[in-house]
């Protein structure tokens, strides 16, 4: 029983890490439908930026979040403006290959600049174990859970209640109709991509203290992030959140009760089953909206 509860806590914490990384992808992939394979590399850039700010300027990782969010917003804007936008009318596959190419280029750039070694932010106050009865959880993980909930609630409200949010949703639903209604579609794309990347900026500041930065760190998370977004029904922030929680819990429980090397098999099996019985994801808007 003790172990089970510890595993559940661990799963929720893992889920909140997946959630915070996937929220940005929900905007980029779920809402504006750009299949961004370089999403993981945005996380990698963010983690190196946090590392540099912490070690060179002595900032606390959570303080470093602010400049990194701005930096990643700008990176996102540049990627959308100069790589995706020229390809917006091209075949979808071309966009996919452009982002795969970008991903490979960024990984190798990081290898050139930082080498293959891992870099770790030293943050003793974040890696402190909090005892909940006999169960262990890290301060950093609790912060991540709080931040994930706040981000999801905040983004949901933003998408529903602001003019910009409505414009983003309108663009997502029908680009041409939105254009006819006077929405500046290209700008909306740029802003949405920038916001998605900025969310990754926040994620990288929260993940850095728990996980060391390497050039390939993005590949550890990107596949899971895609699964989470699809599971959540593509465009729902709450969907992504619950999708991440399911993956986190399945990951944690199956690694213990089945085998650590089979956990991916288990959660992909569940993923496939859900897609068979509910093709639009757990929180999808029904058939035909995809």
């Amino acid at each position: 029983m003790d172990v089970l509860i510890q595993l559940l806590i661990n799963g929720i914490m893992l889920g909140s890490m997946y959630a915070i990384i996937s929220v940005g992808l929900t905007l980029i992939f779920g809402v504006i439908r750009v299949v961004n394979f370089a999403h993981g590399e945005l996380l990698m850039i963010g983690m190196y930026a946090v590392y540099l700010l912490c070690t060179k300027l002595g900032l606390h990782p959570y303080v470093a979040a602010f400049p990194v969010i701005v930096l990643l917003f700008l990176v996102g804007v540049l990627i959308q403006r100069f790589i995706i936008q020229p390809l917006l009318d091209a075949d979808e596959h071309i966009q996919i290959f452009a982002t795969v190419g970008l991903s490979t280029a960024l990984v190798n750039l990081a290898l050139m600049v930082f080498g293959a070694d891992l870099y770790s932010v030293t943050s003793p106050d974040i890696r402190v174990t909090v005892k909940l009865g006999t169960y262990n959880v890290l301060v950093g993980q609790l912060v991540m859970l709080g931040a994930a909930v706040a981000l999801v609630v905040g983004l949901h409200a933003f998408m529903q209640n602001t003019a910009l949010g409505r414009a983003i949703r309108a663009t997502a639903q029908n680009r041409n109709a939105a254009l006819l209604m006077g929405v500046r579609v290209n700008q909306i794309y740029i802003i949405t991509f920038g916001l998605g990347a900025a969310c990754v900026g926040l994620a990288s500041a929260l993940v850095s203290p728990l996980f060391p930065a390497t050039p390939t760190v993005g590949t550890y998370f990107v596949l899971t992030a895609f699964v989470v977004v699809v599971l959540g029904g593509m465009r729902s922030m709450y969907g992504a959140f619950w999708g991440a929680m399911i993956i986190g819990l399945v990951d944690s429980l199956s690694a213990y009760y089945i085998a650590p090397d089979l956990k991916e098999v288990v959660y992909f099996a569940i993923f496939i089953l859900i897609l068979i019985f509910k093709p639009t994801g757990l929180f999808g808007f029904g058939r035909g909206t995809e």
Binding site: V3, L118, T129, A255, Y256, A259
Partner: protein, 407 residues
């Protein structure tokens, strides 16, 4: 015009003649050096090459081999394809007498196919995959220990080092084998399991996991529930860091943790984990520099030579392993009748150095397959942020500690 042509001919003939005559005076023996000099493996590939370079310079200063100075011809093997291409170039265009290499096992497996067919002896100084010398090749020799030696060393040290240090019976220790699930981890863990059965070691858990895991907490909870005393881990860098951090966070305190080189040997791993948390972690690997001179005569001189040439401390034990291997094979070449492949094989099989005769503490005696049988990796331990040799007793610079973490 005619005059110009004639002058050119004359110059050409003269030049050829000069070249021939200098060739006759300074007959050089060309040796191939096949390592990854660029790409992702370049750092340790270059570190390995430095060992060969130092051994070659030392040899040349002492008059070369059979009175001929050695000339290194480099081949850059970034991946198995290029390893094959460069091995072809070295053997057919540059016509090297022998080839040294390779650091990485996949590169060695590919390149040795070429040299074996070409009938050129290949001296492997650093790749640890066992199948390299299990293919019945006649012109392939390896000076370094293999994955099986690593696994045996780890399992044996439970009974020979860890149990005595804890003052308990080895049979009472519950052992877990955990490993990343790519070829490296699978291979070493496979040999460990076999060795553990032979030695009657009580293995209670064998847990493979992906090196790309972002969470090893479930693995640690399994070890904790099984009350594991000794953990044998075969891992890369990321998963090593994750294991140590999460073990501490979950309050998992085994009596001993031992790695199979890989992530355990790297200073960056210790820095990411923190010296205090890595304190007491054991590791099996090629000989490192904090080793007792009594067991590794010449290790201090090697470090001095290295620093004089490159201006820094050696970056890993790879240079030492390559240096020692190269010296063994240079001696074998020197005592061979001639540089033909059969003569070199005959001479290599006659090499007979007792354990503890070289700067890495290894001996040399080659079996029919070309594998050095007098090598075994030492057991090291992270103490105060340094990786120091603790076992066997003769090679140890300090006493082995028990437990994990200094707090």
């Amino acid at each position: 015009m005619k005059l110009v042509m004639r002058a050119a001919y004359a110059a050409g003939i003269l030049a050829t003649g000069l070249a021939l005559s200098t060739g006759a005076v300074n007959a050089q023996t060309k040796i191939g050096a096949l390592y990854p000099f660029s790409g992702g493996l370049a750092l340790l590939g270059d570190e390995s090459f430095r060992g060969l370079e130092l051994a070659t310079e030392e040899r040349n200063a002492a008059g070369g081999v059979k009175g001929q100075p050695l000339q290194i011809v480099k081949g850059d093997a970034v991946d198995p394809n290029q390893a094959v291409g460069e091995a072809r170039r070295l053997t057919s265009v540059d016509k090297v007498t022998v080839v040294f290499g390779t650091y990485s096992s996949s590169l060695s497996l590919a390149a040795t196919q070429v040299t074996e067919l070409a009938g050129v002896p290949y001296f492997e100084l650093g790749a640890i995959s066992d199948p390299i010398t299990e293919r019945g090749f006649k012109n392939l020799f390896r000076s370094n220990p293999t994955a099986r030696d690593f696994a045996a060393s780890m399992v044996d040290s439970i009974g020979e080092a860890i149990a005595p240090a804890l003052g308990v019976d080895a049979k009472s220790l519950k052992v877990a084998i955990i490993h990343e699930d790519s070829l490296y981890g699978q291979t070493v863990a496979g040999y460990q399991t076999k060795r553990a059965q032979e030695k009657g070691v009580n293995v209670v858990e064998t847990l493979p996991y992906s090196a790309k895991s972002v969470d090893l907490t479930p693995v640690i909870l399994r070890l904790k529930s099984a009350n594991v005393d000794v953990v044998l881990q075969t891992s890369y860098q990321n998963d090593t860091v994750l294991f140590f951090r999460q073990a501490k966070e979950q309050g998992f305190k085994p009596k001993a943790v031992m790695g199979a080189g890989g992530g355990y040997s790297l200073r960056e791993t210790m820095e990411a984990v923190g010296a205090a948390n890595m304190e007491g972690a054991l590791n099996v690997d090629f000989t490192q520099y904090k080793t007792n001179v009594a067991a590794a005569p010449g290790i201090t001189e090697f470090v001095a030579k290295y620093k004089a040439k490159y201006g820094i401390e050696p970056r890993s034990g790879h240079s030492l392993a390559n240096y020692v291997g190269a010296k063994i094979f240079f001696d074998a070449m020197a005592s061979a009748k001639d540089f033909s492949a059969p003569s070199i094989r005959e001479s290599v099989l006659k090499v007979d150095l007792p354990v503890g005769a070289t700067a890495s503490g290894w001996g040399a005696k080659f079996n029919e397959a070309g594998q050095n049988t007098r090598v075994s990796p030492f057991v090291m331990q992270w103490q105060g942020g340094e990786l120091v040799t603790v076992f066997p007793a003769k090679a140890a610079v300090t006493k082995m500690k028990t437990g994990l973490g200094s707090n």
